[in-house]
């Protein structure tokens, strides 16, 4: 790790200000991704702005939506009774991230800001049509993930909370990488106010919607209609899963999610 200036601001506004004042600053949430890259000297920042004291936690339900503070840990989402009763699939997704240590430190804000192609939360944000709130604006799910490790966030923009409209039903099916336990493919299927949404993570550079599946499911919500539907995407290929295998798994996971709902 190289030297850096450490800040521990007491509010979101102070955090944004500290980040803005820094020559080359970075926010620190759970540190599960950031700290290893700093330790291995793969990244270097002049200033680390720790969000731990900003109070960006808390999970609440207001009307038709669940709002989760950016600093909420995966474990707090997984075990939240609000989440479990309103969107059980979201709690299951959070409870399936990594291992207990990672779930006790890693946060929803960090996960979404990081936009790892294999992360689970992007499938939830996109599949449930969530809104990402920042210190500057509200960003719709469909506009948020723009590429591999790339999002619509501007420089220094701070995620404060994420709002998930409560769907009529939703399910998440994940095929985990046996080593990292990240998603090789994860599919969130949801019946939302705006219609059926199918969001895929792990398969390509960033999470995306499988519109071909959404269309047929809108007509007949059953796993059988997904037979023969091959989702086109710019599939990832690595030592764990070829593009062809990932394409196949998208179909299998989507069917599992649909079956769970139907």
């Amino acid at each position: 790790m190289y030297d850096f200036n450490y800040h521990r601001p007491a509010s979101a506004a102070d955090a944004a200000a500290a980040r803005k004042a820094a020559a080359d600053g970075v926010y620190l949430a759970g540190g599960m991704t950031l700290l290893p890259t700093l330790k291995q000297r793969l990244a270097r920042s002049s200033d680390v702005v720790d969000l731990a004291a900003t109070g960006l936690t808390g999970i609440s339900r207001d009307g038709g939506a669940i709002t989760i503070g950016a600093m909420s840990t995966h474990d707090s989402v997984a075990t939240s009774s609000e989440v479990q009763s309103a969107i059980p699939a979201l709690g299951i997704l959070a409870g399936g991230i990594g291992d207990p240590q990672v779930r006790n430190r890693g946060t929803i804000g960090g996960s979404i800001a990081n936009a790892d192609p294999a992360a689970d939360y992007p499938a939830a944000v996109l599949g449930l049509n969530a809104t990402v709130h920042t210190d500057r604006r509200a960003i719709g799910a469909d506009d948020f993930f723009t590429g591999m490790f790339e999002t619509a966030l501007g420089d220094g923009e701070l995620i404060t909370k994420v709002t998930f409209p409560v769907p009529a039903a939703a399910a998440y099916a994940k095929f985990a990488n046996p080593a990292s336990r990240y998603a090789i493919v994860g599919v969130m299927v949801a019946k939302t106010d705006g219609g059926i949404r199918v969001a895929v993570t792990g398969a390509a550079g960033n999470a995306f919607r499988a519109t071909a599946m959404e269309q047929v499911l809108a007509g007949d919500f059953s796993a059988a209609v997904l037979d023969g539907i091959s989702v086109d995407a710019d599939y990832n290929s690595d030592i764990h899963a070829s593009a062809e295998y990932r394409r196949h798994l998208v179909g299998v996971m989507a069917k599992r999610a649909v079956r769970e709902i139907a």
């Binding site: 990292s180 030592i239 070829s242």
Partner: protein
Amino acid sequence: MNANATTNSGIGGSVRRREDSRFLQGRGKYTDDINIAGQTYAVFVRSPHAHARINGIDTAAAAAAEGVAAVFTAEHTKDIGGVPTGWQVHSKDGEPMAEPKHPVLAEGAARHVGDPVAMVIAATRRQARDAAELVTVDYDPQPAAVDMKAALADGAAKVHGDLPGNLCYDWELGDKAAVDEAFAGAAHVTKLDLVNNRLIPNAVEPRCAIGDYDSVSGEHTLYTTSQNPHVIRLLMGAFVLSIPEHKLRVVAPDVGGGFGSKIFHYAEEALVTWAAAQIKKPVKWTAERSESFMSDAHGRDHVTHAELALDANGKFLALRCSTLANMGAYLSTFAPCIPTYLHGTLLAGQYATPAIYCEVKAVFTNTVPVDAYRGAGRPEATFILERIVDQAAAETGVDPAELRRRNMIQPEQFPYQTPVALQYDTGNYEATLDQALKAADYAGFEARRKQSAAAGKLRGVGLSCYIEACGIAPSNVVGSLGARAGLYEAATVRVNPTGSVVVFTGSHAHGQGHETTFAQVVSDMLGIDYDAVEIVHGDTAKVPFGMGTYGSRSIAVGGAAIAKAVDKIIAKGKKIAAHLLEAGEGDIVFENGAFKVAGTDREKSFGDIALTAYVPHQYPLESLEPGLEETAFYDPANFTYPAGTYVCEVEVDPDTGQVTVASFHASDDFGNLINPMIVEGQVHGGLAQGIGQALLENCVYDAEGQLLSGSYMDYCMPRADDLPSFQVDTTVTACTHNPLGVKGCGEAGAIGAPPALINAVVNALNGGGHSIAHLDMPATPQKVWAAMQSN
């Protein structure tokens, strides 16, 4: 095996491991826990290229950086000896293997990703790291030899420019003519191509070494994460640094797992020892995990073509195998012997196959050196044999258990001379097979297959009947096979004046529980309290000598040495007792901790004799020295031959190819057991590693020689939730040639498990309507799914 702790603290008692008290409280003392006043820290600059010429190294900025004590490159170390290998193998034509120099720091060329190029030493670890980034190496990247077949082709990139090619040796074993003849007359021939996947050892404690030098006495001390401190002293002192034994002490304190990877003498150990004398300050180096991935010797990595000839009744007539074995860029300590004498010699397995021929080409590649990893050569042999036997069963329509049974060596055939050099002393393979089949309810498998099918899963069952040669090894035998050292073990048993005992053993413990097991042996033999026995290991200044821990040799060779030393204690005790009791020495018997005049009630306790030995007022001083301390060197008469049958059931998800281990049953014959609970623990660990290899672990290099599986995000270690609850039991045929009748148990699981699992997966797929002859390890979901698509 019943693993409940018992109150019997002698031989056969499941005593709780005494070492766990410090390990579980976080109070073990590992090399990295040792800090010496004035200590400096070393960081290595390692090659990012698989193969590159080094045109120059600019160390000026690093040397001038804050806190830096020294920066060393090959310019400083080129007169130091190369890291030696301990075994010389000869090719078919009688020529010795190619043995290129393994410089401690790269000389003119870097030959694998991770090859150390420079050593930076500073007052703090951080300063050393900062300075290491200032070292500029002028690399000229060269084409790399990565794939073994390609590396042997004409015009392939050469790992060592001064060698004719990348072949290290081309070795053979067995009667080729007899094998060819048997094949010519065979009713059936089964052929298989197999890959034994490359593994990265991943002991939980990364390697660490501290060099210290006393400029007044001229004594060097190396603290290191080693399975065999005396071997390191021998290799490093004699071959690398030219330091005589009496000026070199090697200490291996608590060591957090080795699995073979800490047998070997590594360049970093020599460098910290040497550098400490150069800069007159202690030098410490601790590997980071990513460094471990690219600098600890890897394991396995064989590519084999095998053929099995059978007669019309399913009797094996002959086996032939042709293997390419990866050596990596340099020859590590044991590397040449793993694919030869620990592999080819095991190809008879449990079967009375009359003719066997095996040839092995060892290949240099631009990858990390490959050497022994839990099982070392024997898992590779077992994988070939137990896969091809299963495939032969499938092809001939005979039940795999039945085909194995038909060919097993029978109890009355022992001692059994195999056609591949070994002579098995004892065993009862069919009894162990029967016990395993019964315990695993092999007969009830079809019903379970149906149940799984009803749940949409393909279920399969797989067997593996392994044998291993361990307790290595008779020195004269290994000497004739090219070993450059003996493989005996040494022990000193010191009886203190008040009757407690300290045992100094050359068998190092790094997870095996020796401190408990050895104490049980001594307390049982001497009839004294288990708590009165202390076991000391891991320091060349304390222990007389030792060849260390590997090859499941600790109890069979190290334990035997202790037993021999205890015998000497008892013999001397009898002399003292005879004097005290005014009886003839021949009339004294030692029973239940007391020296007795046979047939009388006159006796002296062990404690009386100990005290008399040190307070020799009434003592035959003219014919007997005072004191009660004996040393024994034990050189085994033969290898030991643990064997067993493993039965694995798996479920395959036909949609994804995901394999789940549904059950795993292991029946092992380890000879006599000293501590059944520790033995069971060893089996569990071995099975986890074997299943890890078969299902999860894979070291992957790309075509340019970059390590793709260089962290835990990509290299998959087995975790508890990948494994079933193991069912294990034992049968016993006592080893005939060591004093304890023991065979060793450390490697069995890693040897026997992989083929059982792959056999089960192949069985599941074929039972599900596919037609698959073989699946290479690891059976990842992707691989299993792809196999289902194509067949």
